[in-house]
Amino acid sequence: MKKLKKNSNINQSSFYFEDYLETNKKNKLLKKINNFQDRIYLLFFFFFSLILIFSIKIILISLNDKDVFNFENQKSKFSLLRRDIVDRNGVIISRNINTFHVAVDPKLVKDKTNFLLKLRLNFPDLSINEINKKLKKGKYFRIKTRINQVEKEKFWSLGEKAIKFEPFQARMYTHGNLFSHVIGQVDYDNYGVSGLEKYFDRELRNKDIIDKPIELTLDSNVQFIINKELNNAIKTFKATGAAALLMDVNSGDVVSLISLPNFNINQRKNINELKYINKITKGVYELGSIFKTFTIALALEHKLVDENTIITDIPRKIKCSIHEITDMKEHPNNLSVEQILVRSSNVGSVMLAKKIGIENYKKFIKKTKLTKNPEIELEEVGVPHQINWNRCKLETISFGHGITTTPLQITALYAALINGGKLISPSLIKDKEIKKTNLIISEDTSYKLRNILRKVVSDKNGTASLADKDGYDVGGKTGTAESYGNKKNRINTFISFFPSNKPIYTLFVMLENPKINKDLIYNYRGIKTKAPHNTSGWNSVYVAGKIIEKIGPILAINNKEFIDQHVVEKFN
């Protein structure tokens, strides 16, 4: 049994060995195949993923047809550094353009003499000696900044490797001088240094809205006409300067702001002379008889008088301390309140101011913020002198002396007097939210004032007859005053509004030191005459009349009410 066991054991052992070998071989083969299949699957998976990725990419490209172009981070994207500034009609006032500086790398100059010769022949305005000196130093330097396309091509055609063009963004102002005091300028790094460019510097550089321009309330056409008329006035009356402001009486939108002399904002120069200040926002003046309107308004508002109340026994002159207050012309002894303003009587105004009293006048000036800093979107604003309410102050202020303010503030206040009493903030930005307005006088007083101011222009005794233009229904008040601090200088102003029955615009015109033009023949109420005095009525009013006549039709284009009334629709 043992033997059998032994034999069987031997046999078994041999069989097992044989079987094991075959199985092992099979297993190995199977493993190899499995490995091969795994690799195939892996490759399959790999290629499938690739196809999936590319397919997704193609699908994305085909679906997002808008985003394919103008990738935000694309290097070649045309991106401006500052937003455009446009007027209320969308006309571009300032925009950035790509331009170049030209520089020279001396290491790349092969033939120095030839290089200098080429430069001398093509660019005679360049200083060759200086370039030669810089070439000797061997350091990279600029030879010309802010070149135009023609100059660039000229430099390019020299065929010199040493000439390098440095890309640069320059701010261009399409209207040159026209908006110099409003728009301001930027420095070489595109940062605003004056005017709106400085005030809205952060907004103008905002990358998120770089494609959206800043829209102003200004109108290029109106601005051009007023600028031209003021330039003519400077020549006609030999004035040293002039300024004008056209404003919407209800919204405070500044349609035109001119201060002369002006300067070309496309050329960078150091301008330090006082005559170049923005006379409308920074100039602080004693504006004279314009203030009589406020005296009358206060007297009416406090119901001390009516427009027809007769002020009797008006003296020829009033003495106050050492000052003697007189009228320029002789007026009747008894004048109605209306006639005091129409004839611009100083003495009559003083008598009314005494009725009003110093406290009421003080309150009015405080309420109207006349002596505070003006509010507008410009850095260049003037600070009116603070009033020292000493003896005779009330008397002098009643006819506009001893009080200073900026033309901007007085125009805004005038707008309030005629728009129903709502004090508005002047603005240069289109569709700006109108702040809550203070009521400074009642609607009734405003209505009465409008009628009186219309008579200043239309009445035979009025001081502003030359502005009585047919169809425009102009109202306003003249002001002739000496310049604050320099009695030799004269400021002739006229502040008007139109149409007087329902005012829309107010126009302020100021001439600095105008002279009588002996050659100028006026058509004064149908009579040909020369100017008898150097007063506002004979120069500023004349200029305002001319301006209103020319801008009227342009302003009427956007005036729905005017169109409804006067424009006949054409039916085919």
Binding site: F36, L43, F54, F69, Q74, S76, L80, V91, N221, F224
Partner: protein, 100 residues
Amino acid sequence: MLKARLIISISIFVTFLVITSAIKNKTRILEKEIKNLNLELLSKEKNINEAQLDFHYLSSPAEIEKKINLIVLKNIIRSYFHIFFLIFQILLDTKTISHN
């Protein structure tokens, strides 16, 4: 069986390889086209930007006034010349008549 699997796997592999390559090529072509179009767009944007500026400059009231003045001046000169030549012709005719 094994051979069949192998052939199928290889054929799938080759097919996918070809498809992938084709898709990749197409994507590259598309990307190149997009790049070119973007460059074209960039130059057009630049041109529009400058053309708009030129338009607003040339149509500004000051420029229009300059051009009007030039046209008016030309017309005046033309009409003056016309009058001058007319007078000259009359004088010449008068001379001829008197000679005759």
